[in-house]
């Protein structure tokens, strides 16, 4: 498991955790992000019940997790949020931000409505100890209710499954180093899991409106500097919803 600081300036920081070597072979590798501001924490896509103890133990080395006041779920998938009941058992006052359309589904994990702050389809703002983070709609990419997060201070854009890559076991880098080489790990995932080219173009336009230094997906490697625009251009040309053509 690798934990690295992506950004740190005075009272504000971003940390990423990924490449869990301990995970069972059949479990997809996931990245988890922790934003700290003024001593308070926000966890982005904290992960599945399978790797809760690893995520909690690793982040505990760097941050007092009792100060995590909120969790953000980009969408409803088990690898994103099935650990939620365990976080809430430890902190019954935890706030959980999630796409509005998934509220009545995610509550099946055992979370109560009083913990949930639904985010409407058009997105919004998350306030972390006085610091504002932008929530950007990413619906249909891949989930029908899907959100990204942009932090104007660090210029980090958390993209959820967008930009995800199914990396081979021997790929241990946290960042994309050779973009052209990297596309082979991304192409099938995006064409198979993401259905809408219209939604894709809308999301790309939203990202381009912002000054993005890092684009951070929930699986695979992080895009930094010029690789952010390289990814957007590659994604723009990709025909989504085209990996399965067995329609008769």
């Amino acid at each position: 498991m690798r934990v690295e600081q992506l950004y740190k300036k005075s009272n504000h920081s971003w940390m990423v955790m990924g490449r869990d070597a301990e995970r069972r072979e059949e479990v997809i590798d996931t990245n988890h992000y922790l934003i700290q501001h003024n001593g308070q924490g926000l966890l982005l896509d904290p992960g599945g019940v399978e790797n809760f103890s690893v995520v909690a133990a690793e982040f505990s080395k760097h941050f007092e997790l009792a100060n995590v006041e909120a969790i953000f779920a980009s969408h409803q998938d088990p690898d994103v949020i099935s650990s939620l009941p365990l976080w809430i058992q430890a902190n019954p006052d935890l706030i959980v931000y999630m796409p509005q359309i998934w509220v009545s589904f995610i509550t099946h994990f055992g979370v109560k409505l009083e913990n949930i702050r639904p985010i409407p389809d058009e997105g919004g703002i998350i306030n972390l100890a006085g610091h504002e983070l932008e929530v950007v709609p990413a619906h249909y990419l891949h989930s029908s209710g899907n959100l990204s997060v942009y932090d104007p201070q660090s210029k980090i854009f958390f993209s959820g499954d967008i930009g995800a890559a199914m990396l081979p076991e021997d790929f241990t880098e946290l960042f994309v180093t050779d973009f052209d080489q990297h596309t082979q790990y991304m192409e099938y995932f995006h064409r198979r899991w993401m259905p809408s080219n219209t939604a894709k173009m809308r999301w790309i336009a939203e990202v381009r409106k912002r000054d993005v230094e890092m684009l951070c997906p929930q699986h695979g490697a992080i895009f930094k500097g010029d690789n952010v625009e390289r990814f957007l251009s590659w994604f723009e040309k990709l025909d989504l919803g085209s990996a399965w053509s067995n329609v008769r």
Binding site: E22, V49, F52, S53, V54, A56, A57, S60, K61, E64, L65, A66, P85, L86, Q89, A90, N91, G110
Partner: protein, 229 residues
């Protein structure tokens, strides 16, 4: 994760409980047509008693008792199904809670290995909460099992009552002169239904014993797994 082995073992225990509940429920369902047949028999007996005029007076009283027997059997089934449903619900909650308990255990081990003390107290809260829920649901499971045993125990008494009614109706049939033939037909049918009820009652007692053993085994295993670590 070490917890997986324990969770799997507990999962097996709960699977056994589910299977026992399904078997018991299936057997209990077999009592539904039996109770209906008792009602039908009671209606037939009422007609026979009416045809017999004053000679059928004593038999008329017996028909009411047959109907009552059918009602009591139905009542028993209705309540037991609710309790079985509750046992299944508790067992499934316990599987989830036990899995969470083992995950917190795993986390505590990791924090201890890495000598991280800062977050230990924070996660202890979740750990204790789950342990309390486990205790409370295990207590509820035992109490529901007791309730189920109490609800099923009258069936053995109903079998005795049915046997007594069958004897009484045979006696009435013998002393009812020309109407005795139809009374005897009712009595013979009642004997058959009571014999089926006796068989069902024996099967249910055996299944209840199995369920009780499975729950006891699960609770012992859980105690061992939780306290052995």
């Amino acid at each position: 994760m070490g917890g997986n082995l324990y969770t799997r073992r507990m999962g097996d225990d709960y699977n056994t409980i589910f299977r026992q509940c399904v078997s018991l429920n299936t057997e209990l369902h077999k009592l539904v047509p039996l109770a209906k047949q008792m009602h039908l028999l009671s209606s037939n007996a009422v007609s026979s008693a009416a045809r017999a005029g004053t000679e059928g007076n004593a038999f008329r009283v017996l028909t009411q008792d047959i109907q009552l027997l059918g009602d009591e059997v139905s009542e028993c089934i209705g309540d037991t199904q609710k309790v079985i449903g509750e046992i299944v619900k508790l067992a499934s909650q316990l599987v989830k809670q036990f899995s969470h308990y083992m995950i917190y255990m795993d986390l505590a081990d990791r924090l201890e290995d890495k000598k991280i003390t800062s977050s230990t107290k924070f996660f202890d809260r979740g750990h204790h909460l789950v342990a309390d829920e486990l205790r409370s649901n295990n207590h509820k499971l035992s109490s529901n099992l007791g309730m189920l045993a109490n609800l099923l125990s009258p069936i053995a008494i109903l079998v005795k009552k049915g046997e007594y009614l069958a004897v009484c109706s045979s006696v009435e049939a013998a002393s009812a002169g020309e109407h005795g033939v139809s009374f005897e037909a009712v009595s013979s049918m009642l004997r058959e239904l009571v014999s089926q009820l006796r068989l069902q009652s024996a099967r249910q007692r055996s299944l209840l014993r199995d369920l009780s053993d499975a729950i006891e085994k699960q609770q012992n295993n859980q105690r061992y797994l939780v306290y052995a670590r």
